[in-house]
Symmetry: C2
Subunit: 116 residues, 2 copies
């Protein structure tokens, strides 16, 4: 399982990914089994490009993973499934995560750049 506590920065990304009703629905659907993008979009009732965007955000947060597979009739299908993340959120766990926050620290200047 994904049982290690995330860093502060990772936590922000995960929370931002979950803080959206549509993305919560996507996670909920995938919790019931893996699925490919087009079918998932029809299922939920949103456009495929929109779903694509939300899935990218969820994947960047490590909450879902996608894998491009070939179906039996040779078509490319991108399947997504949930990872078995689990987050505990209390004032204490937040305080712990903040110790590893590198972003938006008014003392040390905001948002350090990624290594290019």
């Amino acid at each position: 399982m994904t049982g290690v506590a995330p860093t502060g920065d990772e936590l922000v990304v995960m929370l931002a990914a979950l803080a959206n009703p549509l993305r919560l629905r996507i996670v909920a659907r995938l919790a019931g089994g893996r699925d490919y993008v087009s079918r998932l979009a029809r299922d939920i009732g949103i456009s495929r490009p929109l779903l694509h965007m939300h899935l990218q955000r969820l994947e960047a947060a490590g909450l879902v993973v996608g894998s491009l597979e070939l179906s039996e009739d040779g078509k490319a299908m991108k399947y997504y499934e949930v990872t078995d993340f689990h987050l505990r959120l209390t004032a204490s766990t937040v305080a712990e995560a903040v110790r590893t926050l590198t972003r938006s620290d008014p003392e040390k200047g905001p948002a350090p750049k990624e290594q290019p």
Copy 2:
């Protein structure tokens, strides 16, 4: 404790409130003890109006509570403290919360209005 699972809508609000590095810092500070707005702003190193905005968002999510008190020398001080929230986030708990989501359901139309 605040041990009941939030509705889907409440969950979105809580997650959105926590999905910000500055607000995580605020929660972390308050986890170490209650404080009033002006001192907290100096402590964290941000402007008071900005902190005010963030505290409102946290309070709306039920993560902190504020109380206006009179200090010994008669000045009005707004003290904030964390509530003892605790959230468990897994694919299953998300799926459970989504059952009570009223917002952004493409089937039933988006965002029902509040009762005026």
